[in-house]
């Protein structure tokens, strides 16, 4: 199959698949400015307080109810409690509480589940003001990174390849954002790190493919551009898959550590890397070919 596969001829199927993959992320992003929030915003951006307790028993729905009852007096009704870690820990999320209220909540939890001080594994509090600042920093860093990379790609490649590579980039980041929406992963500072990593990394595979096209064009001038693209995609196929595999080996292992802050960070990176391998083969090069064809017709 590999010897005869044509990325350019199958582009329409890939395009449909891509649209499906990015739909959730795109909708969530477009809805955000209109006050519709489809993300699971973490306290980093939304402000709030979280507590993690080791309860020493499985966190069943009954236990959740008990937790919510215990903290209701201090934190009110608007509290979320979910199992975390190995399932015997509970993550409690409330509005931003003052130090005194946090102490009260801690005492209430200690009484309700007869816990020690050490059973509180972590407590984090971010005021809404700091959350706003972090949001601003996140937006700023994403924009700056995108601009710098666009600039670099435009300098190193012709406009059409650059454009196709950037489309792929945006595609991969959107696929990653879809994963955030669908799996309701917490959106926090790690989200920005994951997004920028995908930004920087997923372009690798596209660059390798484009490099190949550039080279093949010099070698065989008589072949049609589509044929060259298909050939280049096939030639760089193994490389793209293998480089993705080695990176996946390490990032997937981070998921297996079970450390929740790392897991929430490694899942989206994994999704982005897989998407990067897919898009560089099935989207970047064929899209580039499509653009060049239109250019020829216009002449």
């Amino acid at each position: 199959m590999l010897k005869t596969f044509s990325a350019t001829k199958n582009f329409k199927y890939c395009a449909i698949l891509s649209v499906l993959l990015i739909a959730a992320g795109l909708v969530a992003l477009l809805a955000a400015p209109f006050g519709v929030n489809l993300f699971n915003l973490d306290i980093d951006f939304a402000g709030g307080t979280t507590f993690t307790y080791q309860l020493g028993e499985e966190v069943t729905p009954d236990v959740i109810d008990k937790v919510e009852d215990a903290v209701a007096e201090v934190a009110g009704k608007n509290v979320s409690a979910v199992p975390t870690g190995d399932g015997t820990q509970v993550l409690i999320k409330t509005k931003s509480l003052s130090s005194e209220d946090r102490e009260k909540l801690h005492e209430a939890m200690k009484t309700a589940f007869s816990l020690e001080d050490d059973d509180r594994q972590d407590v984090q509090n971010v005021s809404p003001a700091v959350g706003k600042d972090m949001q601003a920093a996140a937006v700023k860093s994403s924009l700056v990174a995108a601009l710098l990379m666009l600039l670099y790609i435009t300098i190193r490649f012709d406009f059409k390849s650059g454009f196709a590579a950037v489309v792929c980039l945006i595609h991969d980041v959107l696929v990653m954002i879809s994963a955030y929406v669908i799996f309701q992963l917490p959106v926090n500072m790690n989200f920005i790190a994951a997004a920028l990593t995908i930004f920087g990394y997923s372009i690798n595979a596209s660059i390798i493919t484009f490099d190949r096209i550039r080279e093949n064009q010099k070698l065989s001038r008589r072949e049609s551009y589509e044929a060259i693209v298909d050939k280049s995609v096939r030639q760089s196929f193994t490389r793209n898959i293998n480089t993705t595999l080695t990176t996946l080996f390490t990032i997937v292992l981070i998921i297996f550590t079970g450390v929740s802050s790392l897991v929430n960070f490694a899942i989206p990176i994994t999704v982005g890397i897989v998407s990067g391998a897919y898009s560089s083969i099935f989207v970047a090069a064929p899209l580039c070919a499509l653009l060049k064809k239109h250019q020829k017709k216009a002449k």
Partner: protein, 436 residues
Amino acid sequence: MKKSILTFVCSLLVIALLGFTVWHGVDLGFTQIPSITDTENGVRLGLDLVGGSIITFEGMADEDMPAEELSRNMEIVVDMLRQRLDFQGLTEAQVYQAGDRRVTVEIPSISDPEEAVQTLGSTAQLQFLDDDGNVILEGNQVADATAEYGAIDSTGVKQNYVSLELTDEGLEIFTEATKKAAAAESEGKNHINIVMDGQTISSPAVSSQYAETGITSKEVMITGGFTAEEAGLLANNIALGQLPFGLEQVEMRSVGAQLGMTALTSSIKAGIIGVLLVMIFMIAVYRLPGIVSCVALLFYCVLEGLVLVIFKVNLSLPGIAGIILSIGMAVDANVVIFERIKEELRAGKTLRSAIDSGFHRAFSAILDSNITTFIAAAVLYFFGKGTIVGFAITLGLGIILSMFTALTVTQMLLNSLVGMKVTNIRLYGAREGRDA
């Protein structure tokens, strides 16, 4: 041939030697390289790994406070927090200003973060007491306190001192009190004790020359052979008594020591298994060059460790994730090169020229792809907040080091293998014969 064997053996020796250095630490006489396991002098583990609290306070200053006044007040806040931490024996803690009106405190291994938040953020209580413990002045009766340097008497010898400015109301009480104190010199009760939050920070004596009149000028000097730093600290502490705003805790992250420890061991385990998996994959797919890339990968790991200990990098949990991720990315360059070499062999080139053109042709692709990832890491470093900066550092570092080892070490070793007449192209992953 001999030269090739020498190069090969030397490279392995260098890696072994550097590996030993990183693991055990080495005393070079003029400088010391600490061991990577030495968390006191070498790699500093972040609070998310050893457990502890990071607390950020915001000065509730008026929006229209002039920048200069604000920055002077924030300096005072930093000094105050430092002092309070020292009083509580939390000398390991760090205090630094984060932004115009925010101050961050990092306290390792603390069991009750809320208590720390409340004592650190409380309003300062400044009092001047006499030797019998009676309150003379409250903080709001001091208008200003500054550290000065200059001649204070007729001898003209310059020294550091603290200059106090009292309010009118304060001066009246102070004149009386100093008169009484100066008169009590024979009983040893001639001190004015400056007390902050119940802790005496300075006990200057009132000179006997004021026994008749008391101190009558609004400008009061406290001398005592201070260094400039001591005078500055004392002035800031006194000025605290009239700090025009309170502190509000706006961010706090506290991690239990146990959770951090579990996270550390499981992520180190993940890193080691990750390296092994990558190595097995590389050897299985690329045979002899695969082994060479494993050596390069080891060299990369050792270099990374060396940089971490030499620059005393503050390693956070995301920082470790960055290292693990960059291990996977480190072999990318080798994959690109080896695939290229395979193709060149298939096209019928000799081994040596296949290796040469493999490196030559893969270079631009490797450079481009690494630069874009590096841009991402750099942006994250400059705009990121909190522990994520650690991720940016290790990722950026990993990219530079991995590109270096992939391009230099791999090439050197492969060439020396060819020089050693290891030229069966099957070992390089190419099938016998040509299938171009």
